[in-house]
Amino acid sequence: MHSRRLSRVVREAGVGYLFVLPAVTVFAIFVFYPLVKTAYLGFFATPPTPNLPARYVGLSQYRSVLASADLRASLWRTVQFVLYTVPGGLVLGLALAILANQRMAGIRIFRTIFSSTVATSTAVASVIFFTLLDPQVGLLSYWLGQRGGGGVLQSSSLALPAVSIVTIWQNIGFTFILMSAALQAVPDDLLEAARIDGAASWTRFRRIILPLLSPMIFFAVIIGVIGGFQAFGQIDILTQGGPNHHTLVLIYDLYQQAFQYNNAGAAAVLSVTLFCILLILTFVQFWYFQRRVFYVQ
């Protein structure tokens, strides 16, 4: 009797372990092991020639990379990129969602157009704008009066804003979908009540719509910031970090150190830096999500 119950508990546990085993195996090999290994690699200076062993240098590589002007510059460029893309994209996406949130013949066509850029990957968006901004044949270069000249992507002052605009365009469909979903959840009678009370549309927007949208806006901001720190493809296709490092953001620096300059040690320190930044951002997101799920609902 006793042993049968025990065997049932053991069998139950066996099923549990069997079901989580595939996921846990993948996580162990491709998430946790490399995470520890990255931090560990940061303690070793990469030798100048590939066949020499890496030299243990303790914390000195962390110290020198973290204190370097290069890191400060690439971090600042990343922050600039985030500041260009997140607020701009959000305001635009929200404006489109409000414009499209009305009963009107043919409004579905507009909704489809506004959400269409969801179908464009980073590579698709980047290649489109790379050709449109080409100094020789690019249509946008021609309209911007840059034909045959330096070109927008080759300009040290315009390259990062240009990459940001491409990013905003690529993400606008996603932001539009998020904001439309939130907007459609605003009860109609709430808006109707405000209208009867004679609330002007700006007041209606600020006092009723905006507070109700704030959770989704917060999500969009956090996703945008995290995405901004991970933005890689548009830099790789449009500028490769140039001209003269003016679009060399943190992750592109990491990529170049690791896979072009073969400096795994320095790249590992940059990886740890990126991880810590994203960790803080993810914690903010989790904290907010938990609070919203468990206290509001």
Binding site: I128, W169, L178
Partner: protein, 290 residues
């Protein structure tokens, strides 16, 4: 026309009719202007893909193709290898999506319906993976793949992504929403875990499965950094990396570059039109993670 103000009842607050007409006109003009801005890059890509390279370079630019030349698509598909890239992406994406569905559903089920020691700890471990971006672990992962002898092969593109913490988390949450009596009743009927999962849990959770499936599909299809570093030849390059090759090497045939770009976006465009509802749900579910 007058229905929205008529419902207010008080005639004094009714706006003059001309005012409303003006407002509507302004809104429509704004909608049209924004639609042109958002759609223009894709529209001009389509136009340019139908022109000859010479016409593309001509000024003033051609904004409507009077003699469309569809040949650029065939060239992009075969000579510029877009067909192979698309096939590779399809293989990689389908494998990753199905594997993530299976591993996530199994793990989510175990967390929701099975009792085993260290269940909570293992769940927290799965949750913790959400905080480790792939970009931060890319150097050791590259070395692992190299050590396995998988560089420049499909396993390199697929194996690191066979499971995701987000999926396990989403399915656990969704499964916990089912009534507990359901499991008790099924046990009385002699259902084991697998039968209960397949016959009861999965049919009741179709919307979540569809939403997560779309989300996983988009994520796998759009991957860029990892495929870039682990592929070296066209035979395994995914469409995103193939597109990068195309724009870097075929610039003298710029109409082919434009055609290839459209071919790369086409599958997701179709997906967007067919699965609009699931896509919205999938994207907003993904908003939880980012």
């Amino acid at each position: 026309m007058s229905s929205d103000t008529a419902s207010s009842g008080t005639a004094g607050r009714r706006r003059p009719k001309t005012m409303r007409v003006v407002r509507r006109a302004v809104r429509l003009a704004l909608l049209l202007a924004m639609a042109v801005v958002v759609a223009f890059p894709i529209y001009i890509t389509l136009v340019n893909s139908l022109l000859s390279p010479h016409q593309i370079g001509a000024r003033p630019p051609t904004l409507f193709p009077t003699h469309p030349q569809w040949g650029s698509f065939a060239t992009a598909f075969s000579q510029a290898h877009m067909g192979i890239y698309l096939r590779n992406s399809a293989i990689v994406t389908v494998i990753i999506t199905s594997a993530q569905l299976v591993t996530s559903i199994l793990a989510g089920y175990a967390f929701a319906f099975v009792r085993f020691p260290f269940q909570r700890t293992i769940f927290m471990i799965c949750l913790a993976t959400l905080m480790v971006p792939m970009e931060a672990t890319i150097i050791p992962n590259y070395k692992t793949i190299e050590a396995f002898g998988w560089l420049n092969s499909f396993p390199a593109l697929v194996v690191p992504f066979l499971a995701t913490g987000l999926g396990a988390f989403l399915f656990r949450q969704s499964f916990l929403g089912l009534p507990r009596d359901l499991r008790d009743a099924a046990t009385l009927d002699g259902y084991g875990h697998l039968r209960f999962l397949v016959r009861v849990v999965l049919p009741l959770n179709r919307p979540v499965i569809a939403a997560f499936g779309i989300f996983a599909f988009l994520g796998a299809w759009n991957q860029y950094l990892w495929p870039l570093i682990v592929t070296q030849t066209n035979s395994v390059r995914t469409v995103q990396i193939g597109l990068r090759q195309l724009s870097a090497t075929n610039f003298n045939q710029i109409n082919v570059v434009f055609a290839g770009t459209l071919l790369a976006a086409l599958p997701i465009f179709v997906l967007l039109l067919v699965f609009q509802k699931q896509l919205v749900r999938g994207l907003t579910a993904g908003a939880v993670k980012g």
